[in-house]
């Protein structure tokens, strides 16, 4: 079958600041009736970590799904590497963007290493690549090398999340889309994952990540898009847009924003009555 189809072209290298994914006046309708996004404009640039934050049901995951080409827009357009997503074939998209889903399932008991190696599948059509190195590096970065031989189904939730992240990293796509990568993780691994995001951005990739923890977003994102009821309420560097009035209003919960006593970094805390 492979012989009958043209080989997918690998992505051209991007320079910092290039827009690798963007949504323009994006409307998304789920189940044919429910409008989840109403005219969202957002751009994901090379060399930058973009965090999508907002209350439950604001449309964060839907926006990520539309950017990943999982969901078709009702109106508006989503572009990846400058071309509308519908113009790319599945193998071409796989070389350009990697997606970490919220939940990871596996039907058969593949080992951890086999799961991570699946991330290399998009490159198989392009001839021999350094698969072993990419797999080993991704497993080391997410600290899963120690259980490489164990079946995925025998792991705890947090370990599975890290293995899935290793698979996504092994794909080595210039655009990373992560849907709540920290949800199942302990403190140390939450930090580890976001440091990895920064590293990938420094290496010239574009990273878009859905986060619930505003402290993590403030600490690690170059730019944050705050979503509220299917619209972008604010978009900019966290130190500029994380203000008490905006966050209190968006989350419908009084919020304090204060500088860290030692580093001066932005801290976001809910106001708690004594």
């Amino acid at each position: 079958m492979r012989l009958l189809r043209p080989r997918p072209a690998p992505p051209l290298p991007a320079s910092p600041g290039d827009t690798l994914a963007e949504a323009e006046a994006l409307h998304v309708r789920l189940d044919g009736t429910r409008d989840v996004l109403h005219g969202v404009d957002v751009a994901v640039r090379a060399g930058e970590v973009l965090a999508l934050v907002g209350p439950n049901g604001a449309g964060k995951s839907t926006l990520l799904g539309a950017l990943a080409a999982d969901l078709a827009p009702a109106y508006g357009v989503v572009r990846i590497h400058g071309r509308p997503v519908s113009d790319w074939s599945a193998p071409e998209l796989a070389l350009r963007r990697a997606v970490l889903p919220q939940a990871s399932a596996l039907s058969f008991p593949f080992s951890v290493e086999e799961v991570v190696r699946m991330g290399r599948a998009p490159w198989a059509a392009l001839g021999p690549e350094d698969d072993d190195a990419a797999v080993a590096e991704a497993m080391a970065a997410t600290e899963v090398t120690a259980f490489a031989g164990r079946p995925f189904s025998a792991l705890s939730g947090g370990e599975r999340a890290r293995v899935t992240l290793a698979r996504v990293l092994a794909q080595r796509a210039p655009l990373l889309m992560l849907d709540e990568p920290t949800a199942a993780l302990d403190l140390r691994h939450q930090e580890l994952v976001l440091r990895l995001c920064r590293e990938r951005a420094r290496a010239g990739d574009a990273v878009v990540v859905v986060l619930h923890d505003l402290g993590l977003a403030a600490a690690y994102a170059h730019r944050v898009a705050v979503l509220r009821a299917g619209r972008v309420a604010a978009d900019g560097p966290p130190e500029e847009i994380f203000t008490e009035p905006l966050l209190s209003e968006v989350y419908d919960q009084p919020v304090e924003v204060l500088p860290h006593p030692r580093t001066g970094a932005v801290l976001v805390l809910p106001v708690r009555e004594e």
């Binding site: 079958m1 997918p8 990943a68 999982d70 074939s89 599945a90 193998p91 071409e92 998209l93 796989a94 070389l95 963007r97 990697a98 997606v99 889903p101 990871s104 399932a105 596996l106 039907s107 058969f108 008991p109 593949f110 080992s111 290493e113 086999e114 799961v115 699946m118 991330g119 599948a121 998009p122 198989a124 600290e143 899963v144 090398t145 120690a146 259980f147 490489a148 031989g149 189904s153 705890s156 939730g157 947090g158 370990e159 890290r162 794909q171 199942a184 993780l185 302990d186 140390r188 691994h189």
Partner: protein, 363 residues
Amino acid sequence: MSVLPRTPSGTEPREAAPPARRRRVPWLLTAGLVAALVVLVPVAARTGAYPVPVGDVVASVQHRLGLGGTELDRVAESVLWNVRFPRIVLALLVGASLGCAGALMQGVFGNPLAEPGVIGVSSGAAVGAVAAIALGLNFAGNWTVSILAFVAGLVTVLLVYAMSRSGGRTEVVTLILTGIAVNAFAGALIGLFLFFADAAAVNQITFWQLGSLSQATWPKVLAVLPCAVLGLGVAPLYARRLDLLALGERPARHLGVDVERLRIVLVLVIALLTAAAVSVSGIIGFVGLVVPHLLRMAAGPGHRFLLPGSALLGALVLLAADLTARTVASPAELPLGVLTALLGSPFFFWLLRRTRRRHGGWA
């Protein structure tokens, strides 16, 4: 919950060993299976109401291939070439088709309990075949039964697929219940054809329902050969994509798999293989369930070995089962389908319990 994996470096080589060993297992298994077939085929050719010594079997094959050897007496030649060999070849083809169809079906459904017999695809294909016999259809010669079995099998797979999936997954309960419904409906249709068929056709259909290879002939071999060879040849091309499908539909798409297209092609291949098996042998259950499972336990779930391996082990199992069926109660002959169901059902029970335990009840 999550354990910090900062293990001492001394444990690393031990942890890294299993994948390497796992890579060797498929080769050993393949060699073992081929060797077992090489031994079992002459044994099956030798054994029967008219025994032909293995030496004579080899000599006769050599003679026909023009590699020396000697021609046997007329009776032995006839027994060997008109009765035993077509039956052996047919057992190998049907077993390979069923084993491979089971592995494919489990991969496509993402469910280890999917099997052509269990979810009703075999019965569906049987309806087509029975219709051809009962109505005396003969529009495509020897291939009529195969074609109708294929069409009916295809319709059934599509029906089961559409009915048992929701949100990109197949739940165990839905799949099994769909199988019950499909099997019941197919059984009713077969009953209806039986009711209206004449006595000769009734005999033929009854034999069908039990599943048997006792009426093997070379024309029958020719009738299934194209289906089986096409299906078995195409299946391994999709092995890598089936591995990715185990991650779920969306992740598979993110890794470049055209999921819709993959599904259509594989459903066609499953229907082709099931029809090939059913059209000559009737319903032989559980081979497609047991065979891929044993291999997954021994060599892991990777489809690059699982698909061809299931074909090999399926062929071996069915040849052994058929040999048992025709010798264990000789001079009478046990129906092959009865034998495989007798051995396969307990395995199915065990599998149900294990799946249930693992998922903590029926999701």
